[in-house]
């Protein structure tokens, strides 16, 4: 979880990454941020997030992103 929050902080130092629940809905993450985030998650956790999982609901908060990572690690 710490890693996810740090990745988000690096993209958006101005937000409280641990407690932001509308990263997509509030327009904080740009399309470029999403690509960057996915590349970095894939590398940091040695996972491969398939395009079917790249959905707004999976990126709205640090929690949602971490839940996605955990699901991918179980695959």
């Amino acid at each position: 979880m710490e890693i996810v929050i740090n990745l988000l902080k690096r993209l958006h130092p101005e937000i409280d990454a641990a407690n932001a629940y509308g990263l997509v809905d509030d327009g904080i993450l740009t399309s470029l941020d999403v690509v960057t985030l996915i590349m970095e998650l894939n590398e940091a956790f040695e996972i491969s997030i398939p395009v079917e999982e790249i959905l707004p609901t999976n990126f709205n908060s640090a929690e949602a992103i971490f839940a996605l990572v955990e699901r991918m690690q179980d695959c």
């Binding site: 740090n6 130092p13 101005e14 997509v24 399309s31 470029l32 690509v35 395009v51 959905l55």
Partner: protein, 516 residues
Amino acid sequence: MRIKNILQYLEATAARLPDKTAFSDGNGGEALSFSALLSATRRIGSSLLSRGGQGARIAVFMDRHPSTIAAMLGVIAAGGCYVVLDASMPEARIIDIVARAGVSLVICDAKNAARAQGLSLPVVDIETLRAAEIDETALALVRTRQIDTDPIYMVFTSGSTGRPKGVVACHRSVIDYAEALLPALGVSQASVFGCQSPLYFDAPLKEILSTLVAGATTYLIPRTAFAFPMQLLTYLREQQINTVCWVVSAFLQISALGALEKYPPTTLKTVVFGSEVFPRSHYDRWRAALPDAVFYQLYGPTEATGMSCVWRADRALEPDEKIPIGAPLDNTDVLLLSEGGTRILPRDGESSEAGEIYLRGSCVTLGYDHAQEETAAAFVQNPLNDAYPETVYRTGDMAQYNGHGELIFLGRRDAQIKIQGHRVEPGEIEAAAMRCDTIAQACCVYVAEVRALVLFYAGSEAADTLRAALGEVLAPYMMPRSIIQKQSLPKTANGKMNRRELLAEAVALLLKKEPI
């Protein structure tokens, strides 16, 4: 029929195809047929006229929907000049644009009403305008008096002095653009566009003109779809989109995240890209995924009204060959000039020398608003003509001809860069940083490999505080990925900022595998 006002296209198409959809949000959102669009345009225009809209600069501060396009056209019907504002722009930038453009009235929707009210200008709600009666006499009078060199819109681009520049365009340039672009791309009534561009740009003219002139239909794709490929691909399929004119980053989002080969968007038959370099590996994948589609690259600056050159991908490229920008559109002339000012011509079978692109024709816009010096530097006398006054636009873009006689874009003469299709002058970001009293030096560099800006500065301000300050004045796409504080910034031997050294540092920083 003589065309001197772009609304004549809408009137002709609405007579021919009254019930066909002109603009739509898709997915059950707002949609306007051609007759509804014409009616809205005339109602809005009539109401604006009663509010002194003729010859005025009128801001459109609305989200991206069909009624926003009706508002833009309504301003034209009133003989005014529109300036589109966007909720993603920071407050300070909007205030600056509105002041510089001399905006006298703001059209808003419910969502942007509070921010529009904060501008200390008269504000009118779009629904009020749309409910107004049509004043035939007043509209006809505007039309009779109007000439085709009257301005219709203003688009703001990044300026190196730290303030955005407003490019002013008139009917004639836009009519010229429509007449050349539509045949070049094979646009017809059967074309269904999926529009990606924000409306505060000249980029959406491609879709807007195709719709008004040819009777095509344009769907305004929601912005968030471009971050999530599955949403975007579903949208394209459900609306049966067959034509897209997107910035390259929008295509990369689909191919880089692995969606292209798995779910190829096979409804697409015309694929148009531009404004940024399309990495060859991705371009080749798109060509392979959509073998039946026709691909085009467009090139052009805002100052020459939308796009100026087109290349139709009707031959396979060599593995290391750059994608050409092709040849100028009909009724546009490219002057490729060497540093010495002589015209460079294509050479049969081999590449020409490099030169700077100057554009000549009705496409050349009226200039930068309230900026004589900047206008004089870029809108110049044709260097090859010493017989009579002839203004051409000096692009600052370097190019050469390849062995096929096609133009190849080589890069910028200055530091200007493109991010997600937006022009960005690093000088504007540096100037914004220098506005903090405690910052002595600033240098902004672009790391192309990861498409990100890095800002270096010397001063006592903390990096997070500086980021917050920049967020208040810069558009989101201009925000640096990293902001690095230093004791002082390196200088070259002759005392200039050593951009090369800072760029190397930025590359090392962003490409290095740091521990997270």
